[in-house]
Symmetry: C2
Subunit: 120 residues, 2 copies
DNA sequence: GGATACCGGTATCGAATCTATACCGTCCGG
DNA sequence: CCGGACGGTATAGATTCGATACCGGTATCC
């Protein structure tokens, strides 16, 4: 397909994109929103171990990049809903693959770590 | 396929795995080693902007996890060669997808950022 | 109407991490 | 003996992260 961007170049904008994708919690949020929109507190409960601060910051950054949308719903009680945009949804495929790789290769990596530890 | 690990659980070992994959430079190293083994200085030149320290640390961590192998070659002049292991090679597919997503969606994200900036 | 709890966050601070810069020992060719 | 390539370390400063505490608005219960 020959696109114009190359992540290996230091000045390439794709660096900042990759930096955002690689950020601590982005993978989790994208995967969590896979099955539909979620509220702030729902997300926080679903992604175990994330703090309010980290969640807020990551969501704001992803919103800035056009990956998620934030909608305040004025119903009673009012609440906030986060959802993947089309762009965010397109990121789902590669990131789901990464998540699946991680989940399915845990034993291999634990074995490698144990072996490296034993070697010393 | 129903594997036993779930990244959403805070205590799950897949978290540490995902954390390593998501580390600043791992994606670059895996992609760089796609086409065969490389030396330290070769890698450093190829991945623009990485410092010796970051490269050393990332390579050590990846070696610990069994993703890359480090071989000192006693030829003259002696040098060090880094290569993907089988495990590392299996990570190539998902990470290449991420890289390609990043490279091909730069314009979308830049547009989103510009629009978000303009909105304020 | 007063107390209480939930929602969606901020504020703050110390700890961990990353970057930049400088330096180093070994080997080799000239 | 001089200089440069290789494969790193050392150190300091900037940045980011996580833990903890707090907060204003809205329902709900009594």
């Amino acid at each position: 397909m020959g696109n114009a961007y190359n992540v290996m170049a230091a000045t390439c904008p794709s660096r900042t994109v990759l930096h955002r994708i690689g950020a601590r919690w982005t993978v989790f949020i994208v995967n969590a929103l896979d099955h539909g929109p979620m509220r702030f507190t729902e997300l926080k409960a679903h992604i175990r171990g994330i703090t309010s601060k980290a969640l807020t910051e990551t969501l704001r950054a992803m919103e800035y990049d056009g990956l998620v949308s934030r909608t305040e719903i004025p119903a009673h009680p009012p609440h906030v809903e986060y959802a993947l945009t089309d762009l965010g949804r397109s990121l789902l495929t590669p990131l789901r693959a990464v998540r699946e790789w991680a989940e399915s290769h845990v034993p291999d990596i634990e074995r490698a770590r144990a072996q490296a530890d034993a070697q010393r």
